[in-house]
């Protein structure tokens, strides 16, 4: 019987509103007791967690692992290593691969790869429409059978509202959410950065906040029509925040997540044309960042997700206009959020853990498999966080195959000490 005692840490489990010094007993990959000063057989292996925080395993519900198709940028294995190094026990990968994850065989291939790699749980999101073309809905039922936990055409919006409506309806019988990337492509066409003073100063084709907001508005109304669970991912504007807030007041089944970069970086950071700041949706203005931070506090925002988007050097080391959108985040998210949100008293630690573990588990239905909680009987997916650890983000020492981070050189306080997945300490 494989047992492990995680001893003396500060256990923070927002799913049970628990926050205190306690020991966590793990047997056969399951949490069997969470209590102060547990008595254990001297033969039981002990993980000394004094000075650490012990939390339900963190879940990143929005990552790009680039497999299949761009294994030079990331693979299931390198992505899983990056996740473990960053404190995540589970990740959910997006389907904009090559080929697209729009049928059961690709889902199955990825699940098999994830199982072979081990390390962390890799969940798969299938495409809503075949080939991400926004025209015909894909075989979502088949994909769920082989383990897909959500559907998304991430990177694109389905511009045909009728197709969107039908997808929302169809997915209801499968009990999984749609993850919506809100962007009206006719308003953002060839856009390079957020529309405002800085796009004018830099002479870059602007993307108005409304390119996001008109789809947020449309899909909230379609969620009201279909009563389907709709999750808006990486929302980035004050206007989107306000609409989601009102939708929730009206009990429309809408949830949303926000990225660490939209909480910490601004359009002004694009001055200098460093392409690591080129992301989609684009970095916004100060009022937007403040509104997003406020949305975390008042609960409008359910989750924090990295939108980990690895890109090869040559796709970033070029003129801004030609550069790919996106940044990696698995290994910086926790440190950046601890430093900039908790460290600066924007939100408390339990709220952060809720947004990074409990909420994504609920949103993806992983709570049903005992994740996002440290309740007795749950799966022993645990993140151990050293809140005092000072470190500097060095793109060259990251586990990810790609190095495209705007946080290079940032001095952070707090990072994952270890992760335990299914009762086993992950060793990289």
């Amino acid at each position: 019987m494989a047992s492990l005692l995680v001893r003396g840490g500060r256990v923070i489990d927002p799913s049970r509103k628990f926050d205190g010094i306690a020991d966590v007993m793990i047997e056969n990959g399951i949490v069997t007791a969470v209590e102060p000063k547990l008595k254990a057989d001297p033969k039981v292996k002990v993980y000394e967690a004094k000075g650490l925080m012990v939390t339900p395993g963190l879940i990143d519900m929005h990552v790009h692992l680039r497999e299949p198709g761009r294994e030079d940028e990331e693979t299931v294995e390198s992505g899983a290593r990056a996740a473990a190094a960053g404190g995540f026990t589970s990740v959910n990968c997006m389907p904009n691969t090559d080929p697209v994850i729009d049928n059961a065989s690709v889902v199955r291939m990825l699940r098999d790869r994830a199982e072979a790699v081990g390390l962390v749980n890799v969940y798969v999101t299938g495409a809503i429409t075949k080939g991400l073309e926004g025209k015909e809905i894909s075989d979502m039922g088949d994909m769920v059978k082989f383990g897909a936990v959500a559907f998304s055409d991430d990177g694109r919006s389905i511009m045909d509202a009728e197709v969107m409506r039908r997808a929302m309806e169809y997915v209801k019988m499968l009990g999984v959410p749609l993850i919506i990337h809100p962007e009206d492509h006719s308003l953002s066409r060839n856009g390079q950065m957020h529309e405002g003073y800085y796009s004018t100063l830099l002479g870059l084709k602007p993307i108005p906040a409304q390119a996001e907001e008109v789809i947020v508005a449309r899909d909230i109304r379609l969620a009201a029509l279909t009563k389907s669970r709709v999750h808006l991912t990486h929302i980035s504007t004050k206007g989107s925040m306000e609409m989601v807030k009102i939708a929730k007041l009206h009990h429309i089944p809408v949830t949303c997540d926000v990225t660490p970069h939209h909480l910490t970086l601004h359009d002004s950071d694009c001055v200098g044309y460093d392409t690591n700041y080129k992301v989609n949706p684009p970095l916004r203005g100060e009022a937007d960042v403040l509104a997003l931070r406020h949305g975390l506090v008042d609960g409008t925002i359910d989750a924090i997700a990295s939108d980990h988007a690895p890109h090869a050097v040559q796709e970033k080391e070029c003129e801004w206009e030609y550069a790919a959108c996106g940044k990696i985040g698995l290994e910086s998210t926790l440190g950046v959020m601890l430093t900039k949100l908790v460290g600066e008293d924007v939100i408390s630690l339990p709220v952060l853990i809720d947004k990074m573990s409990c909420a994504p588990a609920r949103l993806l239905g992983l709570d049903k498999t005992g994740r996002g909680t440290l309740a007795v009987g749950s799966v022993a997916d645990i993140t151990l966080i050293d809140p005092k650890r000072e470190w500097t983000v060095d793109p060259n020492t990251l586990q990810s195959k790609s190095k495209n981070t705007p946080y290079g050189g940032w001095e952070l306080t707090g990072r994952a000490a270890d992760v335990i997945v299914g009762g086993k300490i992950v060793r990289l």
Binding site: Y197, S199, T200, L202, G203, C318, E319, E321
Partner: protein
């Protein structure tokens, strides 16, 4: 002296320059203007230095102006244009820069369709970089030669009222001039239809008007931008005819202006669109003087950046 122009090796934009920098360039240009008037139009200031004209977007006027400027300073000039370069074969700008560095070029003058290309080149190479126009971002030497021309004709820049008219949103000339003219004490109003005025442009220090007729009686300089004819297909303009009617500088509109006021244009002109043909040939139109001054100003910039050979 050599590195007085900016803190570094480059002229990337007017944004990076202070008023003192701009004044230094204009004063230096003054002494070079005299060289262009000589029978032997050449000084040995940059003998042995190699300057590359890296023009990745078609341009004859600016490239020729830089080439003349460099040659009058006795520098060696290599022309590297989009049609002949390996860029069209997929070579990256970074690799092109490495090639030029390996050949011990001293400075690259870059024209590129992408905003920020000059900044990128500066970041990835040791070459000195002059931005000769990057997308819709900046075209600093154009603004410098425009300031030189204004100062030459009107004796000052402080307190002047200047209207920049046309497609502000897509114009690098407009951006550099808004920044340069305001730094030099002028009050700038940008004029054009709302579809061609970029977001929050007032943040750059200018005013905005949609009516050319309202603005003209006040101005000391009216600066007309070239209208790219494809704007019509992008739902930015209904027709060239309607644009010319509202924003073209006609003889009637010149009548609204102070007779001493200057008419300027960076060229090449669309006669009959942003400027009526007869207006382009009026004495207050200083368009060919702008071109002449361009060579002197670019000589000054090259000289200040490359240090006259004193600083290897």
């Amino acid at each position: 002296m050599s590195r007085m122009l900016t803190d570094g090796k480059d002229l990337l934009g007017i944004r990076e320059l202070s008023r003192a920098h701009i004044e230094l360039i204009l004063e230096t240009a003054n002494s070079f203007k005299e060289v262009s008037g000589r029978e032997i139009k050449k000084v040995p200031a940059l003998r042995g230095r190699t300057v590359v004209n890296l023009f990745l977007e078609p341009s004859t006027r600016t490239r020729t102006s830089f080439e003349l400027a460099a040659k009058r300073l006795s520098a060696d000039v290599i022309n590297f244009s989009a049609s002949t370069s390996s860029i069209v074969k997929g070579e990256s700008l970074k690799d092109t820069a490495a090639t030029l560095e390996a050949m011990n070029a001293d400075l690259a003058i870059i024209r590129h369709s992408a905003a920020g290309a000059a900044h990128f080149l500066s970041r990835v190479s040791r070459l000195g970089v002059i931005n000769a126009g990057d997308g819709s971002h900046e075209h600093p030497t154009q603004a410098l030669l425009d300031l030189y021309t204004i100062k030459e004709k009107l004796g000052r820049t402080d307190g002047l009222k200047i209207a920049i008219v046309g497609d502000i949103a897509h114009s690098r000339v407009a951006r550099s001039n808004i920044l340069g003219m305001t730094k030099m004490g002028a009050a700038v109003t940008v004029v054009g239809p709302p579809t061609l005025i970029p977001a929050e442009v007032e943040g750059m220090g200018c005013h905005v008007s949609y009516s050319l007729d309202d603005v003209l009686p006040e101005v000391d300089v009216v600066y007309l931008l070239r209208l790219q004819l494809e704007r019509q297909s992008e739902s930015l303009l209904p027709s060239l005819r309607e644009y010319a009617g509202r924003y073209g500088l006609s003889a009637r509109r010149v009548g609204l202006m102070n007779p001493e006021a200057l008419i300027m244009h960076p060229g090449p002109m669309n006669r009959g669109v942003e400027i009526a043909s007869e207006v382009a040939d009026m004495p207050q139109a200083v368009i060919t003087e702008q071109v002449a001054n361009g060579v002197a100003v670019r000589m000054a910039v090259l000289y200040l950046l490359l240090g006259g050979g004193a600083n290897g």
